[in-house]
Amino acid sequence: MSFEPRIVAFLCNWCSYGAADMAGTSRIQYPPNVRVIRFMCSGRIDPNFVLEAFLRGADGVMMTGCHIGDCHYIDGNYKTANRYEFLKHYLDILGIGADRLQLEWCSAAEGLKFAQSVTAFTERIRALGPNPLKEGGK
């Protein structure tokens, strides 16, 4: 059986969730591999959520939020950016690989950008293969 990546996407309610919505309503195609989880702000994405997604078998995790400067809560996404940088090092040292995590800034109007980045990310994960934790674990 060919490998279909399972991707978890954490979306910010005020922007990327709208973008995903827009991509849907304007019939822009993007792969069905993403499972979307909505947050009120990307700043609410606790690094643990990302870890947990990987531990439970996600092949890739996407974090998305408003463009820098556009966060509804002013600086929520600054924190996201810092955590993202930190998590990348962590995943790399752990051996899961930093490539499996992606941060994307995406406003509510950028339906196309959202669809494109999901597509690109899915392809990247497809090339990387399944989450190495799954092989030993389950």
Binding site: D46, P47, N48, L51, E52, L55, R56, I68, D75, Y78, K79, A81, N82, R83, E85, F86, L87, H89, Y90, D92, I93, L94, G95, I96, G97, W105, P132, L133, K134, E135, G136, G137, K138
Partner: protein, 383 residues
């Protein structure tokens, strides 16, 4: 700012019996009353047995153990927020205090940190076994131990026994693993650092380096009140001290190369398997968190909220701890010491912390003004 002295106690008994002239004992004696708590370690049996004491008057000073080399107590746990505390500690304890300052668990203004240089600590039970096997000594015969010129020396009443530390460590004795690759030997984040590196042989003095104004004040008033006496050290011996320091650091680097680098050099998948397998015997007792000096979350901290029965390839508790400690693990080794199933936890946490340090230059425990990466609120580069 840094100034160096030789110092010694003015109390005859302390100068004679105290290690290195009893400077530290007398210094803290002078601080009783100035601080709410004056904390150090007292010997309660052999040199391998002792406990922390809160000194209340001069009579408490006797038996204070200057070198904490074979007790491995986490001193930072004894600082309580809001209590003005003067405390004697090792370099890793001092780093832990700095980490706690960053997270608002300790106020810089409240504490006087009297650091002791440290070439590494010995786990007491293992050392007692080593004494028996390698040195053929009984623990109660030993009056003092010292690491000097690559040798581990035990002193009895009238003799000294010395062995190469490298050989001992090859056979599983000697310093704790985390101390072998620890490269912070002189606690420069303290107010004062004391030690016997750079002192004349048999001189019964302590080499004192002062880093802060508060430290200077403490020493000056101890001198003025007649507790201690100081003099300028000889140029030559100051050099000797820094040479010892750098050779210790070199040794630490080579140990890091032996212990941590091979794991880092594994392929990602092998490294992942190594980590997963190493953690697999964990029984979820959470002793490692309890022992960790930088894990001061109170109440509902994240790592404890996980369902321990959730069978994931890496227990979530550890996944969180590895993450949080990547920015704060100061490599004290307490977690390894207390794990009932002997998981080399410090090795794992240091693997992350050291690799992170190599990549970003962020060093935990070095300055209370640093903002921990996970708490940063600025826009990072490239965003």
């Amino acid at each position: 700012m840094s100034e160096c002295f030789w110092g010694w106690s003015m109390r005859e008994d302390l100068r004679k019996n105290g290690e290195s002239g009893g400077f530290v004992s007398s210094l803290i004696e002078s601080l009783i009353g100035d601080y709410d708590r004056v904390i150090s370690v007292r010997k309660t049996g052999t040199v391998f047995e002792g406990k922390v004491v809160d000194l209340k008057d001069s009579s408490d000073v006797k038996g204070i153990q200057g070198a904490l080399h074979s007790l491995c107590i986490n001193m930072s746990a004894y600082i309580k927020k809001g209590m003005r505390t003067a405390i004697v500690l090792k370099p890793c304890d001092a780093k832990a205090v700095i980490e706690n300052m960053k997270r608002n668990h300790v106020d810089r203004g409240d504490v006087l940190l009297i650091g002791l240089n440290c070439g590494g600590t010995l786990s007491p039970v293992n050392t007692m076994k080593m004494l028996d096997v390698e040195y053929e000594l009984r623990p109660d015969e030993v009056v003092k131990e010292e690491i000097s010129k690559g040798n581990l020396i035990f002193f009895t009443e009238d003799n000294e026994f010395s062995k190469s530390i490298d050989e001992l460590e090859e056979s599983g004795y000697g310093r704790r693993e985390s101390c072998r690759y620890c490269n912070y030997k002189i606690p420069s984040v303290c107010d004062i650092a004391c030690g016997n590196w750079g002192t004349p042989a048999g001189g019964k003095v302590t080499f004192v380096e002062i880093f802060t104004q508060k430290g200077e004040q403490a020493v000056r008033s101890a001198v003025e009140m007649g507790f201690v006496s100081v003099e300028a050290p000889s140029e030559k011996l100051v050099m000797v001290r820094s040479k010892i320091n750098s050779s210790m650091k070199k040794l630490a680097r080579s140990w890091k190369g032996k212990v941590l680098d091979p794991i880092m050099e594994l392929s990602p998948i092998d490294r992942l398997n190594y980590i997963t397998n190493t953690l697999s015997p964990c029984i979820g007792c959470y002793a490692c968190r309890k022992a960790c000096p930088v894990c001061n979350c109170t109440g509902d901290c994240k790592c404890l909220q996980m369902d321990p029965d959730d069978v994931l390839p890496i227990p979530q508790y550890h996944a969180v701890r590895l993450l949080h400690l990547m920015e704060s693990c100061i490599g004290c080794g307490n977690c390894t010491d207390v794990c009932p199933v002997d998981i080399p936890l410090a090795r794992l946490h240091q693997l992350f912390a050291k690799a992170y340090e190599d990549r970003t230059g962020y060093k935990p425990g070095m300055s209370a003004d640093d903002v921990p990466p996970l708490s940063r609120g600025d826009i990072p580069e490239g965003h």
